[in-house]
C-alpha cells in the first residue's frame, strides 16, 4: 500500500495535476453556486475537456470540480437559502440563520473548515479501508435501504422543533406525494399527471427546492417587511465578512467533525445513499447528542448544526468513490457521470483496479486530499468578499433571488409550466411557513421518494408480498429498531417535559 500511496503522490503532485485540481476547484465553486447547476452538471461539462488528458489527470480535474461544486452549493445555501443540490439542503438549516444574524463570513468559514476536515478524514478512511468497505457496501440489500430511508425520514421529523413532530410528518408525506408524480419507474404508467404532459417526467428536485427554500424565503421577507419582530438587523461589512472562529466554536467543531465524518463516509459508501442522507442523518444525530441548551439553538444558527452536515456531505463525497473505484458501482449521480468518463478513458473499475491501474486508483485518492487543501486555500480568502452578497439591499437581493430561482428552472426545462408550478409551490410553502410547518422534511422526503418506492418494490416482490422482510435480516431489524427507539424517545421526552 505504501508503494501505491507513493505512486499516487508522485502522479498527483505533478505541476499539471496540481494545476488541474486548482482549475477544477475554482470552476466547480462558481458552477456550484449557480442554482440548478450542481456537481453532476459541472462534471458533465468537463468531460469533453478531459478527453485530451491521460486518465489520471482527467479524473483529478473532475474530482476537483466535484469538491468545488459541493462547496459552491453550500455557499448559496448559507447566503441565499438556495441549495442547488440535495447534499447541501441540511447546510441551510443553520447556515442561513447564522448568515441572517450578520455572521455570513463565519458561517462560510465554518462550512469551509468542516468540509476540509470531513474530506481529509474521509480521505484517510478511504486510504485504509476502501477495499474492505466495498464488501460492506455489497452487503446492503433493498430492505436495508428501505429501512435506512425510513430512519432518515423519521429522524428529521423527530428532531424538528419542539411540538412539531406531526407537522413534520405531514410534510414528509407531502414530499413523498410530490415525488410520486410522473411515470412509475418500472411500468412507465403515469400517475397524478391529470393528462398534463409536462408532469410525465415528474417534478424536478431543483424546482421543489427553489420553490420551498429560495423563492418562499424571498416572498416571506417581502411579506414580513413591516413586521417589527423580523426587522432586518443592521450589520457592518466587517462583521459580515469576518471569518474568525472563536475558541468556543472551535471546541464545538472538534467534537462534531469526527462523528459526522464517520457517518458521512459510511453512508457515502452505500451505493445510492450519498451525500443527502449522510448530511441529514449527521444533522439529526448531532442534534440528539448535544446538550439541551445547544439543542435549542438548532435551526437558529447553531455551530454544531452547520458543521455536522457540511462535514458529512464532503465525507460522503469521498465515500461514494469506494463503490465506484472498487466495484464499478456508482454511489451517486455524480459518480455515475465520472464512471462514464472512466470507461471512456478505457479504464474498467472493479476490485482489480488498484492492481491493474494503481496510478489511477491512488492518484485519485491522493488528489482528493490535495483538492481539499487547494479548495481551502482558494476559498478562505474569498469568503469576506462572497459574504458581502448579504450587504446588498433587500430591494435588489429579493428580485435577484427570484431571478436565480427562475433561471435555475428555465435552463433545465425550457418550459413555462415548470415556472408556474414553482411559483404555485412557493406560494403554498410561504403560507405553510407562516404557520411553522417545516420545509426540510418535505425536501428530504421528496429526494428519497423514488428510491424508497424502488426499494420497497424490490423487497415486497422478493418476499412475495410479505412484510417479513422488515425483520428477516438482522441489519434491517437493527435499523428499524433504531427508528422505533428514536420515535419512542421523542414521545417520552415530550411527555416528560409536559409533566
Amino acid at each position: 500500500m505504501i508503494e501505491g500511496i507513493l505512486i499516487g503522490l508522485t502522479t498527483a503532485l505533478t505541476f499539471q495535476n496540481i494545476l488541474m485540481v486548482m482549475i477544477g476547484c475554482f470552476f466547480g465553486t462558481i458552477i456550484g453556486m449557480l442554482p440548478g447547476l450542481g456537481p453532476m452538471t459541472a462534471i458533465a461539462l468537463m468531460i469533453p475537456i478531459t478527453y485530451g488528458f491521460d486518465p489520471a489527470t482527467g479524473l483529478i480535474l473532475m474530482a476537483g470540480v466535484y469538491y468545488g461544486a459541493v462547496f459552491g452549493g453550500s455557499t448559496s445555501s448559507i447566503l441565499l437559502n438556495a441549495p442547488g443540490v440535495p447534499g447541501t439542503v441540511a447546510t441551510s438549516f443553520d447556515g442561513y440563520p447564522m448568515a441572517q444574524q450578520g455572521k455570513a463570513g463565519k458561517a462560510l468559514a465554518i462550512a469551509a473548515w468542516s468540509s476540509f476536515a470531513g474530506g481529509t478524514l474521509s480521505a484517510i478512511y478511504l486510504l485504509f479501508m476502501a477495499p474492505s468497505l466495498s464488501k460492506v457496501s455489497l452487503s446492503f440489500r433493498s430492505p436495508d435501504y428501505f429501512a435506512l430511508m425510513i430512519l432518515g425520514l423519521t429522524a428529521i421529523a423527530a428532531f424538528s422543533s419542539k411540538g412539531q413532530f406531526l407537522k413534520a410528518m405531514m410534510m414528509v408525506v407531502l414530499g413523498l406525494m410530490l415525488a410520486s408524480v410522473g411515470q412509475d419507474s418500472l411500468s412507465d404508467i403515469t400517475r397524478f399527471t391529470f393528462n398534463n404532459m409536462n408532469l410525465t417526467d415528474g417534478i424536478s428536485f431543483v424546482l421543489v427546492v427553489m420553490a420551498t427554500f429560495a423563492m418562499s424565503e424571498a416572498l416571506t421577507i417581502i411579506l414580513k417587511r413591516n413586521d417589527p419582530t423580523s426587522a432586518a438587523k443592521q450589520v457592518s461589512l466587517t462583521e459580515l465578512g469576518s471569518i474568525k472562529i472563536n475558541k468556543e466554536e472551535r471546541t464545538k467543531m472538534y467534537k462534531t467533525i469526527p462523528r459526522s465524518s464517520v457517518i458521512g463516509f459510511l453512508i457515502g459508501v452505500l451505493p445510492g445513499a450519498g451525500a443527502t442522507i449522510a448530511s441529514f442523518l449527521a444533522y439529526g444525530m448531532e442534534r440528539n447528542v448535544v446538550s439541551d441548551e445547544e439543542k435549542e439553538k438548532f435551526g437558529k444558527g447553531s455551530v454544531n448544526g452547520l458543521s455536522a452536515p457540511e462535514t458529512a456531505n464532503n465525507a460522503a463525497c469521498s465515500g461514494s468513490f469506494v463503490p465506484m473505484l472498487t466495484l464499478g458501482i456508482p454511489g451517486s449521480g455524480t459518480t455515475a457521470v465520472m464512471l462514464g468518463a472512466l470507461l471512456g478513458f478505457g479504464v474498467q473499475p472493479g476490485p482489480r483496479l488498484y492492481m491493474t491501474n494503481p496510478e489511477i486508483f491512488w492518484s485519485i485518492i491522493m488528489s482528493m486530499y490535495i483538492g481539499m487543501v487547494i479548495l481551502l486555500i482558494l476559498n478562505l480568502p474569498l469568503i469576506p468578499y462572497i459574504a458581502r452578497i448579504l450587504a446588498v439591499p433587500k430591494n435588489y437581493l429579493i428580485p435577484l433571488i427570484l431571478f436565480f430561482s427562475v433561471t435555475g428552472i428555465y435552463v433545465m426545462s425550457f418550459n413555462n409550466f415548470d415556472i408556474y408550478l414553482m411559483i404555485g409551490i412557493a406560494v403554498v410553502a410561504t403560507f405553510l411557513r407562516l404557520y411553522d410547518f417545516p420545509m426540510p422534511p418535505l425536501i428530504l422526503a421528496f429526494v428519497l421518494g423514488g428510491l424508497m418506492e424502488e426499494n420497497l418494490r424490490r423487497s415486497l416482490l422478493l418476499s412475495n408480498g410479505s412484510w417479513e422482510f422488515l425483520w428477516d435480516r438482522t441489519l434491517t431489524a437493527c435499523i428499524l429498531a433504531t427508528t422505533i427507539l428514536i420515535v419512542v424517545w421523542h414521545i417520552y421526552k415530550t411527555f416528560r417535559k409536559k409533566n
Binding site: L37, I222, N226, T407
Partner: protein, 156 residues
C-alpha cells in the same frame, strides 16, 4: 371548539390526502400486475393513508403551540405584485426570450419594491443579465433560447 389556522391547514391536508388516495386507487395498472405484491398504485395508496393518519391526528389532538400570525402587518399587496410579475415573466420568457424578459422582470421588481435609483436599477438589470447570459451561454455553453436577440442578429 376553538379552531385555529393550523387545524384548518390540517383539515385541508386531510381532504387533499383523501383526494390523493382516491386518485391513487384510480391509477390504471396492467392486467397482469393487478394482483402483484407491488404495482404502480401500491406506494401512493400507502402514502394516501399515511396522509390521512397524520393530518387526522393533528386535527384530533390538542395543539398547545398555537401560532398567531399578525395579518395586518403583512405586506400582501407587494408580495402579490411580485408574484404577478413572476407569472408574467414565466409566461413571456419563451416567446420573447431570456435577455429582455429577465431584464424587465428585474427592473420591474426593483421598482415595485420601492427602489428609485434609476441608474443602479438599470445596471443591475440589463447589463447584469447580459453578463450572466454570457457566462451561461458563451462560457459554459448552456443553451438559452432567445428569439428577441436572434431577431436583432445578436445571437446565432
Amino acid at each position: 371548539m376553538n379552531i385555529n389556522t393550523t387545524k384548518i391547514i390540517s383539515l385541508l391536508f386531510f381532504i387533499f390526502s383523501a383526494f390523493y388516495l382516491y386518485t391513487a386507487y384510480q391509477i390504471q395498472v396492467f392486467a397482469f400486475d393487478e394482483n402483484a405484491p407491488f404495482n404502480a398504485r401500491t406506494f401512493p395508496i400507502y402514502l394516501g393513508y399515511a396522509g390521512l393518519f397524520f393530518s387526522g391526528l393533528k386535527l384530533i389532538l390538542p395543539d398547545p403551540n398555537t401560532i398567531k400570525v399578525e395579518h395586518k402587518s403583512l405586506e400582501y399587496k407587494k408580495t402579490g405584485i411580485l408574484i404577478l410579475i413572476a407569472i408574467i415573466y414565466g409566461a413571456t420568457i419563451l416567446k420573447v426570450g431570456y435577455f429582455l424578459t429577465t431584464s424587465l422582470f428585474l427592473f420591474a421588481s426593483y421598482y415595485f419594491l420601492g427602489e428609485r435609483r434609476w441608474i443602479l436599477m438599470f445596471l443591475l438589470s440589463f447589463p447584469f443579465v447580459a453578463v450572466f447570459m454570457y457566462l451561461l451561454h458563451g462560457i459554459l455553453d448552456i443553451y438559452l433560447r432567445d428569439p428577441f436577440l436572434q431577431s436583432i442578429g445578436v445571437m446565432g
